[in-house]
């Protein structure tokens, strides 16, 4: 992989390839012609760690709104819904992940890709802007996580 930007999560250095775009819900985006390929960023993967369950609520192809809930993901200590990163048509899911989602953790920018879409990519951030976005939200994220860990 080419150049990377980094973001320090404590001792862990999350890496973001400079040739990709990013969304605020912690997905990376690669353009292949009109097609947009999405996956989870190293930041998201660090929060999740070992993903072992992935489920999609819809079958492709399907029209989705930006922010629409489309699936859920679970690791040994965390879970989350997954939301459409942009508005458009969801063309295809990475079916290999359904039987074994571990590629999401092992190879997030490669074999761990999640789905392909066609749609409005204008909301995507350049890598440097994504890192700035992470930086700005980092304190709040830590506080919110800590609150959950303490169950308060």
């Amino acid at each position: 992989m080419s150049e990377c930007l980094t973001f320090q999560m404590g001792k862990y250095e999350a890496r973001f390839p400079a040739d990709l775009f990013y969304t605020r819900n912690h997905m990376w985006m690669r353009t292949e012609g009109r097609r947009l390929v999405f996956g989870l960023t190293a930041y998201a993967v660090r929060l999740l760690k070992d993903v072992y369950f992935l489920d999609w609520q819809t079958s492709a192809p399907v029209e989705v709104e930006r922010g629409q809930e489309i699936g859920s993901i679970e690791s040994s200590k965390a879970l989350s819904s997954i939301f459409a990163p942009v508005q458009g048509t969801l063309l295809r899911f990475n079916d290999d992940l359904l039987s074994d989602p571990s590629a999401i953790s092992i190879d997030p920018y490669g074999a761990g890709w999640l789905f392909e879409m066609e749609g409005d990519a204008s909301v995507a951030l350049r890598p440097e802007d994504y890192v700035k976005f992470l930086d700005a939200g980092w304190e709040a994220t830590q506080r919110a996580l800590k609150k959950q860990v303490q169950g308060s």
Binding site: A44, E74, K77, A78, A140, K146, Q148, V149
Partner: protein, 362 residues
């Protein structure tokens, strides 16, 4: 009702889940044979209306109660509280349970130190009102798949309650206490679960007790050990679910005004005091995250691209539009706290945080 007996109430799962029914039936029949225990079966606690026989029965119990349900213990406890079935939270020690150290903070009023993490001005929880001097133990039937651990725990609780009563009696003030604690809506047990009580398929309880609730319900349940009466939920909800009681305490006044599936107000609550027991994520459904094996950190608010507030506003808009009203987005009932209050609190090293997260692995 025999005061020396412990009342165990088993609240059934919704629907006809065969595995769950099986555990319920095994438990109920085993409990029938236990000495010193009265067992009754009621439908799913969350679906019971005020006037359901099962609810009237629960209110008629004056002594200690064990409630077994397919709900997080915290959710069940505050659900009962809302329905006037009040008591001190008993500390359950079910293996695989989430109680352990976490539960203690709910027991006494002296819980200030549990949140003494540096922010002195943090508002205090308002705690449950008018709690009688008895204990309610809520056990989650999802924690174990065999009846034995529950039976064992119920025996332990029975002994604990008996011991406590003996102590109280010897101190000589229990009689007057018990008198003033009589729950409202008192109905003698015999009038509900009388002659029909032990008929049929070996399960206890009358058919009235088990009458199927008219429908599944959906409403918020407030945890008053967390709620600070800040009123942000009442401002945020535009469906009139919340109100205040005579003492200006927040109250789920019109539960059935609530919109099925919508957990928006719980995301807005700064203390995470609002529980939707049937919601898919454990944090909102009333789990005590962090002290548990097998329960998960909910990252949804980070992965949604939205913060909790925007997500809540979206969920609320969806329900407004469904009702033929206009979406309001972030223009109505939005908490003033955002930012200001969140600036308090210690700054934590991520490593510590991640260590804690890692410790949750089992």
């Amino acid at each position: 009702m025999n005061p020396s007996k412990l009342t165990v109430v088993l609240s059934q799962a919704q629907g006809q889940h065969p595995v769950r029914r099986h555990l319920e039936e095994n438990l109920a029949s085993a409990l029938l044979l236990e000495h010193g225990i009265d067992v009754s079966v009621i439908p799913h606690l969350y679906d019971l209306t005020e006037d359901h026989t099962g609810m009237l029965f629960l209110r008629s119990i004056t002594g200690d109660i064990v409630v077994l349900s397919w709900l997080y213990p915290r959710a069940a406890h505050w659900m009962l509280d809302r329905h006037g079935v009040k008591g001190k939270p008993g500390e359950a020690r079910l293996a695989g349970g989430e109680e352990e150290e976490e539960e203690e903070e709910e027991v006494g009023p002296a819980s200030e130190d549990t949140e003494a993490i540096g922010d002195e001005e943090k508002p205090k929880p308002i705690e449950a009102a008018d709690v009688p001097d008895r204990y309610i133990y809520t056990l989650d039937l999802r924690q174990q798949d065999r009846p034995e651990p529950y039976l064992e725990e119920i025996r332990r609780i029975a002994a604990e309650c008996l011991g406590r009563r003996k102590n109280t009696l010897s101190e000589g003030h229990s009689a007057s206490r018990a008198g003033e604690m009589k729950p409202r809506g008192f109905i003698a047990r015999e009038s509900i679960a009388g002659p029909a009580a032990s008929r049929g398929n070996g399960r206890p309880g009358s058919e009235q007790l088990l009458a199927t609730p008219a429908r599944r319900r959906w409403y918020p349940v407030i945890d008053f050990s967390r709620c600070t009466n800040c009123m942000e939920c009442i401002d945020f909800c535009l469906f009139g679910v919340y109100g205040v009681d005579a003492k200006d305490r927040i109250l789920v006044e019109n539960p059935d005004n609530c919109k099925k599936g919508c957990p928006a107000c719980s995301r807005v609550c700064p203390e995470h005091a609002i529980i939707f027991p049937e919601y898919k994520t454990p944090a909102i459904a009333g789990a005590n995250l962090g002290s548990i094996s097998g329960l998960k950190i909910d990252l949804t608010r980070f992965f949604g691209g939205d913060d909790a507030l925007s997500l809540a506003a979206k969920e609320r808009d969806r329900e407004l539009v469904r009702d033929g009203r206009s979406a309001v987005g972030l223009t109505a009932g939005i908490p003033k706290r955002q930012g200001a209050r969140n600036k308090e609190g210690p700054r934590d090293e991520l490593d510590q945080l991640m260590d804690k997260l890692d410790k949750l692995d089992l």
